[in-house]
Amino acid sequence: MNYSEKVMDHFINPRNVGEIENADGVGEVGNAKCGDIMKMYLKIEDETITDCKFKTFGCGAAVATSSMATEMIKGKSIDDALKLTNSAVMEALDGLPPVKVHCSVLAEQAVKAALTDYYQKQGIDPEPIVGKVPEMEEE
């Protein structure tokens, strides 16, 4: 597996690992059967993501894309976070091997899932804002 130096850096030294107590939004995507689970925690104040942490079960690319995604949305507005795409995450990591592209998709979905949870907690229908996030597959 030919990973870029940036991927290896974010894998060996992942940024923002952990949990946020009383997080304003928590999203979990992927499933153990396929070998990837990402859980994203957001702290949101005045429409801004003031803190972001993650936990990931998965391969090197899964850890690196989660780490990079948290870096890319931390301190940003919700609007900006919603614009985060998997290709932007991949680009920021200097690319991913083709078989690992789905990891970046998972990272984008983890952010969206956490924002969906945030809006649900606010009593706001998230779908018009966030769009549909694929449900976690149950076995």
């Binding site: 290896m8 060996i12 690992v17 070998g35 689970i37 936990k55 079960f57 391969c59 090197g60």
Partner: protein
């Protein structure tokens, strides 16, 4: 402990050893003649190949005329299975028996034959990764052309009762092929005593170079050619001989089989130390039989973490190993070998294979045992799966193949 660099992936490939390299070197620039040529440079190489063939044969208990050089294990497997299938189909024998956890060189060849009108029985393996000769006997039919069962499994290192399976095949008059790619140099092989009709081997698993292997074909066994062309290898396998490879293979197999008991005596305690040490980590299971196992193979599942991240972290600490996780294969399914033992996907994803050879030391084992628990702890601390396992009281079922909730 000071960082060490440890190559623990011998089941993948090995380095060409110094004596093997030295034996090969003259055949690149000095003795480069085509063995089919009439002049001295060619004739010398023809003699060198005759000598090498005899030496390879001696290591397997075979006759020199029964050894055919190939490009490696996959070619040997393809040739044995397709060659027999093609030959015996004319006699109405279109059934093959194999096992679910063979190497893909065997499995995909059998699947290919299924598309061409053959029927294949895939024998299940026991939870320990073993095949009972009685299963083979029960599966044999009137139209069975071939039984092909691997000698030792490449992932979990389990050694099959080859002599017993060979006996069953002989009694039923069915040809028996074994993929011995992982076995050569690790277990004593005697093709006559073990009633083996065809045996595949690959040089790079025991310090010969990549791209050279052999197929043993018992005298009297007829099979169609796979590679058509010139008359090399008694007209059975075309292509100008890989002379340096053949010379290297002969040297390597002599060295690998010279003292198997001593090698076993050295590696087995190290293997068991690693197994016992790693199993101290909570949430782990040994994959494959504890005793019917290659002396240099350890395969353990570590729940709550994924295999590729485990390998990357080990590599960061200088340890080169392998895994049966989906992420290392590029497919979504974890190893078919681990699944064949009854492991759930969750348990199979977190597997670690360490495979080592004679240069492996006690210090290497100690080093691996010193870094592994910290790596597992670190990966688990960031794993939402481990968090769920902890919070919801999820644990192994009785045979440690699946994860179940408290009270289930």
């Amino acid at each position: 402990m000071e960082k060490r660099i440890i190559y623990a992936d011998h089941a993948a490939t090995t380095a060409v050893s110094e004596p093997v390299l030295q034996a090969m070197l003259p055949y690149f620039q000095t003795n480069y003649g085509n063995p089919s040529s009439i002049y001295a440079k060619g004739r010398e190489n023809e003699r060198a190949i005759i000598d090498a063939r005899a030496r390879v044969a001696a290591c397997l208990g075979a006759d020199p005329k029964e050894i055919f050089f190939t490009a490696g294990g996959s070619e040997s497997d393809n040739w044995a299975i397709k060659g027999i299938a093609d030959k015996l189909a004319a006699k109405g024998k279109k059934h093959i028996i194999t096992s679910v956890f063979e190497h893909h060189a065997v499995l995909h060849t059998c699947e290919f034959l299924e598309k061409h009108g053959f029927e294949v029985t895939y024998l299940p393996v026991s939870p320990e990764g073993l095949i009972d000769p009685a299963q083979v006997a029960d599966a044999i039919r009137e139209d069975t052309a071939l039984v092909t069962i691997m000698y030792a499994n490449n992932e979990i290192g389990t050694i099959q009762p080859i002599a017993e399976i060979g006996k069953v095949c002989k009694e039923h008059g069915v040809l028996f092929h074994t993929d011995a790619v992982q076995a050569v140099g690790n277990v004593e092989i005697d093709v006559k005593a073990q009633n083996i009709d065809l045996l595949s081997l690959s040089g790079h698993k025991f310090h010969a170079p990549k791209g050279i292997g052999a197929l043993y074909i018992r005298k009297g066994v007829a099979l169609s050619n796979l590679v058509h062309g010139g008359g090399q290898e008694s007209g059975k396998r075309a292509g100008t001989e890989n002379v340096p490879g053949i010379i290297g293979l002969a040297k390597a197999i002599e060295l690998a089989t010279a003292d198997i008991p001593a090698k076993t005596a050295k590696l087995t305690p190290l293997r068991d130390k690693l197994i016992d040490g790693i199993l101290q980590i909570e949430g782990t299971r040994l994959n494959g039989s504890r005793t019917q196992r290659l002396p240099g193979n350890v395969n353990i599942s570590v729940v709550g973490i994924e295999g590729e991240s485990l390998l990357l972290m080990l590599d960061h600490f200088g340890v080169m190993a392998s895994s049966g996780s989906a992420c290392t294969s590029g497919s979504l399914d974890p190893s078919h070998v681990l699944l064949s033992l009854g492991l759930s996907h969750e348990v199979a994803h977190g597997s670690l294979r360490l495979s080592f050879g004679e240069e492996f030391t006690e210090e290497d084992a100690d080093y691996i045992l010193s870094v592994l628990p910290g790596i597992v702890e670190r990966l688990r601390s960031m794993s939402p799966m481990w968090e769920t396992i902890r919070n919801e009281g999820i644990h192994f079922n009785a045979d440690k193949t699946k994860l179940i909730k408290e009270g289930e």
